[in-house]
């Protein structure tokens, strides 16, 4: 049990997660030398709480166990102040679920800091050029939609908009969809199905510069099958894949300290 007295109105399913995170935060603030190194963003809090909360209310949920993802990541969570690439074939490897979980985790952490669950969370942003993000799912993912700025720029303005959003330093987590799901380009009538990643090398560098010395992170959702003459200069590249039903894998393809490895199996959440 943490030494911190929790607000009595805190929901039961949040308590254990809150205690763990508060202990970490307190440990961080009590050791000034470590303050320069931000803690990784743990997805466990947000995803598991959302799943438990939904289960308690009899709502079926979809998704990956976030605690599994945390365990597979080198530091137990997503790095902060960095650009992270989440690649999956045709953007259909549950990268949206993971991205929403990251947003939920960032918002939940802000609430934990205040100790009052009624406090509004941190602002996150979702750049969705193909206009496919669905509000009910956002809510079901544990994300407060009122603190998730959704921007739907035309593709020719996408890079400019993303850099500007990163430079604003107004967001804890920024998700950028760089490849539309299959069919999106037909629905958008003439829009390209993905952006040219070779043009994003310099843009990612600019974004990384904008994120320096901040706790914000940018998640780029990319198509793992898209041609790329050069790899994007991201701090971490995660590859999500689904080979057969309920057989998911996560591979750390790039990490700034070289902690890469083969694909690791994950379990999916309860399916309907």
């Amino acid at each position: 049990m943490s030494a911190v007295a929790l607000a009595p109105q805190l929901p039961h399913q949040l308590r254990s997660a809150v205690e763990d995170r508060l202990s970490e935060i307190l440990a961080r603030t009590s050791a000034p030398a470590d303050r320069a190194k931000p803690l990784p963003l743990s997805l466990r809090t947000a995803l598991d709480v959302a799943a438990e909360g939904a289960a308690a209310e009899g709502v079926a949920t979809e998704g990956l166990h976030a605690s599994t993802i945390d365990e597979l990541l080198p530091d137990g969570g997503l790095p902060r102040g960095a650009v992270i690439e989440l690649a999956s074939p045709r953007v259909l490897g549950r990268s949206t679920s993971v991205a929403l979980a990251a947003c939920a985790a960032a918002q939940a952490e802000a609430r934990l800091r205040s100790g009052d669950p009624q406090t509004v969370g941190a602002w996150c942003a979702f750049v969705d050029p193909w206009s496919t993000l669905h509000a009910p799912t956002v809510k079901r993912s544990g994300v407060d939609p009122m603190r998730l700025l959704v921007v739907r720029p035309p593709l020719d303005a996408l890079a400019r908009v993303v850099v500007r959003i990163a430079q604003s330093r107004a967001f804890s987590m920024i998700v950028v969809d760089l490849a539309g799901v299959p069919g999106a380009e037909i629905a958008m009538e003439g829009a390209s199905s993905s952006v040219r990643l070779d043009r994003w090398v310099n843009i990612v560098r600019r974004i990384a510069l904008a994120l320096e010395k901040t706790d914000s992170s940018v998640l780029l959702l990319t198509d793992a099958l898209a041609p790329r003459p050069l790899p994007l200069p991201v701090a971490m590249r995660l590859e999500l894949d689904r080979n057969a039903h309920d057989r998911w894998s996560l591979r750390i393809a790039k990490e700034r300290h070289g902690r890469v490895g083969p694909a690791m199996a994950m379990t999916a959440g309860a399916a309907r």
Binding site: S97, V181, G183, I186
Partner: protein
């Protein structure tokens, strides 16, 4: 508490305005000639030898030209003087802009419409907020002097004198004469206004030149000399001259006597700022390139921002008006008015110069100009109270929520307000209509601040939400018709595992089909009611270039029951 008034005197305002005009006329090259200004509504008045000089610059003053002289007299002094005609309304409008900046220093501000060179600020009880009267005086001087009147950075700094005393007259007199009398204090201590004035000339009282000359002939040169005269005699003498002031207005004799007795209690008449802020720049040669226009925008926005911040207000609508060169506009085939107006609403009120500039720049820099721009105007047409951000000690230092309003404005200006917002769930059975992007302020207005204040109203009905089955995370904006590889036609059914479908040019194989839900005659009152059978379909993508792996995904597909057509509607992602 003793009343304290700050007088801001801009002794060369009219000549500085005239210099800006001259600079624009001479294509930005200063001529170096001395300037004398004739204040008149008639544009040719400066050519009239009988007209009075209203203001002069330092060079003209050095040649012996003084305000109040006839133009012919001034011409006789030197041939190297340019006479410029200026409308008193232009000077008053410029003074009003300075007054708006001055509003940040006190609750009441007055503009002296008679002399057209003075602004008074009631600073009673506010000096401690700035660190004392000395700091306050310097701050006023710095802020007012920094408000440049032209886009070319000219003048680099306005000539401003600021003095603080117990009343408007004492403060104005000190500010006007402090440059000529270095020993004069810029701040007269409470109750010491009369004492500070004693060495000033009689002319400082604003008496007519005849009256000042009369007292001069008597050897009464300073205010302390005048103060020594018996009040009964002085009153009769002043009455004989009717005490008209130098600016033409008749001085109240009791007011003048009150100043001599140490009373300066005239209340300030509050300045009423305009409801719409407008600033403009004109270009003699016309501007053809948008980047140069952006440079001019920076100057305009800088001035407008200073005025807004002085008023403690912000704007949530900006209009940019561009007037084109008529002849070139017509030559290039332009029709209608040779001007254009860009108006855009800001999602949040802005007042800071950088925020305003980013919003306007995003709109202006991509413009294709049909002809050279000869005039640029920026109108701030919707003025609201400036939002105040509470100091948040627990905020994460690396995240700056205060930057959000500016970002929203910039994005709205660049890509359109309809593309920026938050997602809201709409109360509709059709999945494509259950998600909507709404503006942040619209969404916030519909949501209670805290859940304890009441049930959420319309954006998201919690009970309805939990009773609904889960939906995919990705919904296509428009359902996509699926076609069959075998039939090559429009209709897919019978729809079964093993079948090959085309999503555009992408082939997929159906692995598994599960029934998800049925929509029956939704929106039956319309011409196209929806009757759909939704299926959750696991599809397999074939190996693509460079990899031998196949991948699977869960598609959300529906069969339109009326026609039998099959549509892809989303992905479980």
């Amino acid at each position: 508490m003793t009343r304290r008034i700050a007088a801001v005197v801009l002794p060369r305002l009219a000549s500085e305005l005239a210099a800006v005009q001259t600079l624009a006329r001479d294509e930005g090259k200063p001529t170096g000639r001395a300037l004398a200004v004739v204040l008149s509504e008639q544009s040719e008045e400066a050519a009239n030898g009988a007209a009075l000089v209203g203001a002069v610059d330092d060079a003209a003053a050095a040649l012996g030209v003084r305000p109040g002289m006839r133009v012919s007299e001034a011409m006789a002094r030197s041939a190297a003087i340019s006479f410029i005609n200026l409308s008193p309304h232009d000077v008053e409008a410029a003074l009003a802009a300075f007054a708006e900046v001055a509003m940040m220093f006190g609750p009441v501000v007055e503009v002296d419409a008679a002399s057209l060179d003075t602004i008074w600020i009631d600073v009673t009880g506010v000096a401690h907020l700035f660190g004392g009267e000395a700091v306050l005086r310097e701050e006023i001087e710095t802020r007012v002097a920094a408000l440049r009147l032209s886009n070319d950075g000219f003048p680099s700094r306005h000539r401003v004198e600021v003095a603080i005393a117990d009343g408007p007259f004492y403060a104005q007199a000190l500010a006007r004469f402090v440059s000529k009398h270095p020993d004069l204090p810029r701040i007269a201590a409470p109750g010491e206004g009369k004492r500070a004035m004693r060495n000033l000339p009689v002319a400082a009282l604003g008496l007519s030149s005849d009256c000042v000359a009369f007292f001069g002939r008597l050897g009464v040169l300073t205010i302390s000399d005048l103060d020594r005269i018996d009040r009964a005699q002085l009153t009769s003498r002043l009455e004989s001259f009717s005490v008209p002031s130098a600016s033409g207005a008749t001085r109240n004799i009791h007011e003048v006597l009150g100043w001599l007795d140490g009373r300066d209690a005239r209340p300030l008449v509050p300045f009423q700022p305009s409801e719409v802020l407008v600033d403009r720049a004109t270009f003699e040669d016309g501007v053809e390139m948008a980047p140069r226009l952006v440079f001019a925008v920076r100057g305009l926005v800088s001035r407008l921002s200073a005025r807004l911040m002085g008023r403690r207000q912000a704007t949530n609508r900006i209009e940019v008006v561009l007037a084109y060169d008529r002849s070139i506009f017509a030559l290039r085939g332009g029709t209608g008015e040779a001007s254009s107006r860009l108006g855009f609403d800001l999602p949040a009120p802005l007042s800071h110069v950088d925020d305003l500039f980013r919003a306007v720049k995003a709109k202006v820099e991509g413009l294709e100009l049909p002809a050279p721009v000869i005039r640029l105007e920026i109108h701030l047409s919707r003025i609201v109270r400036a939002p105040e951000v509470q100091l948040d000690l627990s905020r994460d230092v690396s995240v700056s929520p205060d930057a959000l309003p500016a970002l929203l404005s910039e994005l709205s200006a660049e890509i359109g307000a309809e593309r920026v917002g938050v997602l809201a769930c709409a109360d509709d059975h059709r999945p494509e209509r259950r998600s909507a992007l709404v503006g942040i302020h619209e969404a916030a207005a519909r949501r209670p601040r805290r859940r304890s204040e009441g049930k959420q109203t319309s954006l998201f009905e919690e009970e309805a939400f939990h009773s609904e089955p889960a939906e995919p995370s990705r919904i296509l904006p428009e359902p996509v018709l699926l076609t069959s590889a075998i039939e090559g036609g429009r209709r897919v059914p019978p729809f079964q595992p093993g079948q090959c479908l085309f999503i555009g040019k992408q082939a997929v194989v159906v692995d598994e089909i599960r029934f998800d839900r049925r929509l029956e005659s939704v929106a039956w009152w319309t011409s196209k009611p929806s009757s759909r059978d939704y299926l959750r379909v696991r599809v397999r993508f074939g190996a693509s270039e460079g990899t031998s792996k196949t991948s699977t995904a869960d598609a959300w597909i529906y069969v339109e029951r009326r026609t039998g057509s099959v549509f892809l509607h989303g992905w479980w992602e």
